[in-house]
């Protein structure tokens, strides 16, 4: 049966339920959030309909400039770490036997599906004084006494790379697994070492994939809402953490909504900018 355009109204029938669900429970909530971002906050966690920019004006402070700057810097750092670790890993993985690949894919999916609560808990245990890795170092005689490695920037970064690494591999996987193996074979035949072939043939062939993956991991890292809170100090809090904090603990929904809208705009803006830069780079 060939694909054909819908002829009768009833042909649209199957579309009705999914379209209704997505509009009512995704588009409308999104619009509600945008509306609430202009509302006025009342004491006691309530808010009344209004149209004011007060919630947005609060961004124009040094504090928010710092939070935004830190959030972006952290997300970029996480994305770069993940790419550096994941590109060679995924490349080697795709060259392995299918059975071995499956074992690794199951492990990666299992880690990817872990909630941030669990990742945060697991790493805070690993970095803690009583149950942390420093205890092993003490047993091995490398350190004199166990100490806590958190809260610290390093702990936040490690936790977030742990969270984003499986995601990076799975985003890279389709492109790398379809990479023409004759490319590297040709390079090898011409006398390049495997490492040289990887850097001079594989990486350039994947330039666009790597850029696209970098953006996706960046957005993924920007969304991390608990790890900076569980593993870092208050100065390591990101925009996502602040949004949760304002919505739940400060009960300031309008302000939380305004920050969320802002986060969407920043995310989309950066994506657009990178896509634009990529096009220019190709034209040149």
């Amino acid at each position: 049966m060939r694909r054909e355009a819908p002829q009768k109204l009833s042909d649209y029938g199957p579309l009705f339920f999914p379209a209704m669900m997505l509009i009512v429970f995704f588009v409308v909530p999104f619009a509600t959030m945008i509306a609430v971002s202009f509302f006025q906050r009342q004491q006691g966690g309530f808010y009344v309909p209004a149209f004011e920019f007060a919630n947005y004006e609060r961004f124009l402070s040094l504090f928010f400039a710092n939070v935004l700057g830190f959030s972006l810097m952290l997300a970029v750092t996480v994305a770069i770490c993940c790419i550096v670790l994941a590109v060679p890993f995924t490349y080697l993985l795709t060259r392995m036997k299918r059975k071995v690949q499956i074992v690794w894919l199951v492990a990666l999916l299992s880690v990817l599906s872990l909630s941030e609560v669990i990742i945060g808990f697991a790493w805070s245990t690993l970095f803690s004084r009583t149950a942390g890795i420093t205890n092993l170092l003490v047993m091995a005689g490398i350190m004199s006494e166990a100490k806590a490695l958190l809260p610290s920037f390093g702990a936040v970064l490690t936790g977030m790379v742990y969270q984003a690494f499986p995601y990076t591999v799975l985003v890279l996987y389709p492109a790398l697994v379809r990479l023409d193996p004759t490319l590297t074979e040709a390079a090898r035949t011409l006398g390049a070492s495997p490492i040289k072939a990887f850097f001079t043939v594989v990486i350039p062939a994947l330039r666009n994939t790597i850029t696209a993956t970098l953006i996706m991991v960046f957005i993924f890292a920007l969304g991390s809402y608990l790890l900076p809170q569980l593993l870092g100090r208050p100065q390591h809090w990101t925009l996502s953490v602040l949004i949760t904090d304002q919505a739940i603990y400060q009960s300031n929904m309008p302000f939380a909504a305004a920050m969320a809208v802002f986060l969407v705009l920043v995310t989309l803006g950066l994506v657009a900018l990178t896509v634009l830069a990529g096009r220019k780079g190709e034209a040149a």
């Binding site: 054909e4 199957p14 080697l92 499956i102 872990l114 690993l126 890795i133 957005i219």
Partner: protein, 266 residues
């Protein structure tokens, strides 16, 4: 030389992925209620605690119910949509594909907050079923992606043959399309199920004050200090995820689901 190098690299990555789980597994078998690693003494009572302690058991039950129902609803939304996009030429309908992928692609806080304001405005805030709908929307991306993949893998000549023999859309769907698409339905459901089981922020923002799912329970427990039960629950989660994904791999083609070509081609 390079073989040894890549083996070492894989070992280090594997260690990185496993290290926190090894420590948590160690903590979970402590004899007393201490958070020590290497564990002091050995006891599996903290695993029993998940099922015996009413608070943890209720949270486990709430999480399982939520995951079973929301994954089913996610598939119910994704299946007709993916079928329609495969069966019809309707370029504007692609907007719904985009809408189905957006909740999972945007930072989760945004979807969570949107749903929170929505449920609060409509007055349903805190009702358990709102979490089911919220999770279904949040995770609809997963069955949508696997099903779209499954539909493109269907050989259209099979469908054409059925149509030539006089089968209508309904019969074709039941006798040809559904059996071919079933593995993708199952894996889409499995992905949505496991992620819903683990999900924290959307559940917390929609029903966090009226009901505790396991991740919410762990987080609340974290704020009052550690108990080894958190560790045993974590291990239970990892094991569940690993078992479900292994089953998907056992009965389906996992590399293909994740974007590789089917095993016959390689």
């Amino acid at each position: 030389m390079t073989g040894a190098l890549s083996k070492a690299y894989f070992f280090l990555i594997g260690l990185f992925l496993a290290a926190p789980m090894i420590v948590v597994a160690g903590v979970s078998v402590n004899a007393k209620q201490t958070l020590a690693f290497p564990p002091k003494g050995f006891s599996v009572s903290w695993y029993g605690e998940i099922f015996l302690n009413p608070e943890w058991r209720n949270a486990l039950f709430a999480s399982l119910t939520l995951a079973v129902l929301s994954a089913a609803l996610a598939v119910a939304i994704a299946l007709p949509l993916a079928w329609f996009l495969w069966r019809r030429i309707a370029p504007w309908a692609n907007i719904f594909q985009l809408l189905g992928i957006a909740p999972f692609t945007l930072p989760p806080v945004i979807t969570a907050l949107g749903l929170l304001t929505f449920w609060a405005t409509t007055g349903f805030y805190g009702q358990p079923w709102t979490a089911v709908v919220s999770h279904a929307i949040f995770f609809v991306t997963l069955p949508l992606v696997t099903l779209s993949l499954g539909f493109t893998a269907i050989d259209r000549s099979l469908v054409e043959a059925a149509a030539t023999m006089g089968a209508d859309d309904r019969t074709i769907f039941r006798t040809v399309v559904l059996p071919l698409i079933l593995p993708y339905i199952v894996s889409g459901y499995a992905f949505a199920f496991v992620l819903s089981l683990n999900e924290y922020i959307v559940a917390y923002m929609t029903v966090g004050f009226t009901m505790e799912t396991l991740p919410i329970k762990i987080f609340n427990a974290l704020r009052y200090g550690y108990t080894p039960t958190m560790a045993s629950v974590t291990i239970l989660f990892v094991a569940t995820a690993a078992i479900i994904f292994s089953l998907v791999a056992r009965f389906g083609d996992l590399p293909k689901l994740l974007g590789a070509m089917s095993s016959d081609d390689t």
